[in-house]
Assembly symmetry: C2
Homo-oligomer: 218 residues x 2
Amino acid sequence: MTSLAPASVTDKPLRRDAAENRERLLTAAAMVFAEHGMDAGVEEVARVAGVGMGTLYRRFPSKQALIDALVGGIREDLRDLARSAATRTDGTGLEELLVTAAELQAARSGCLQRLWDHSEAGRDAIEEFRTRVVELLHSAQAQRRVRSEITSTDITMVFWSVRGVIETTRTEAPTAWRRHLEVLIAGLRPVATDQFASKLTEKPLTEAELRRITGPNR
Amino acid sequence: MTSLAPASVTDKPLRRDAAENRERLLTAAAMVFAEHGMDAGVEEVARVAGVGMGTLYRRFPSKQALIDALVGGIREDLRDLARSAATRTDGTGLEELLVTAAELQAARSGCLQRLWDHSEAGRDAIEEFRTRVVELLHSAQAQRRVRSEITSTDITMVFWSVRGVIETTRTEAPTAWRRHLEVLIAGLRPVATDQFASKLTEKPLTEAELRRITGPNR
DNA sequence: GGATATATGGAGTTCGGGCTCCGCTTCGTC
DNA sequence: GACGAAGCGGAGCCCGAACTCCATATATCC
């Protein structure tokens, strides 16, 4: 878990109390949004953080900026999980990442929609994350843990898919996504029998389409 | 496809022009919400329907009521798809339903969140839908198309999961969900090899949990 | 410890979107 | 075709939530 989204390194450092309030606000926002979703009021965030509205708006120029900073932090955490999974050499790294990334999403539910959209925050982190997913996928395929026709965009769709289950079940059955993920991982395995069609008939999401969904940047 | 949510049968029938405007409003709302999501303005809905604000608010007492009527119609359509799938006797009905229900969700994206939540509209329809899913699942399992440890709540999670992919990809890759669904269905199949764990280790979502998520009614 | 730039809180302002009101029109019946 | 009931449009009302302003307080530097 990285620290919560330090501001840009080019800015002059904040005064100690200001920096502390910034952290308190991000922590509070994570809690409030996880509980009530992103349409929770900024006043509630400020109250939970124990600061006034003025402080919130000096640290973050808008509610959107606050959310972006939060999302940036989550993306950095995702990147760290991918780095950690990459240390496995037996082809199980992808499966580990699918589980740990889902755990992270479950813990930070509320702003998951922004997590996979165009927003600028943490762009480099999510870029590295994608690169590592490709490597982990190839490794898993080399070990015959995942069939060869699966593409990295298929893995991306697994994240989106798990997100859907997490957001639907989070209040009443916060761990239900684990079982669904087991079914999903089973769907990635090589198909040993030819009783059923072993080939996916629909073409995969292309990289270009993925770019348009997750960020038109560059 | 059923007609768009007739009002309660107990009410006296609407005047011809009023009934027509009701339909126009529902059609317009489906279009507008599918394009811009549920936070699109009611003014936009009225404009697309070609009626004034007053008309919208005489036909539906609130924006929420309009959405509920829309959701009720979709739930009735879902029920009809389940009835249609139930006519298959070779165990493929479940797979047909997964595809056709996903197609319906893709066509009506925008209010999918409400589709699976507590809202009252079309409760009986969704109830029958669930019953038929259970039957279709048993049939698929009897034909060995789906492994026996899969429960009906696992199927429900498949709907939630596909919804997540649909909502993420709808503007840029509106058919991407088809490939993801193929992976999901592969995950439901019997596992022929014992190279990997063939058993799901997480306990399924219970019926009681499902009830709390989709409706505390009754 | 004094000077000063920086930070704070919370009452008010703004604004967008849901909703209402009422003078005029249309439908359906006799 | 006349009459009453039901329906219509859209300008404006209203509320809630994002955002601003400034008198006061605090950290940092010497």
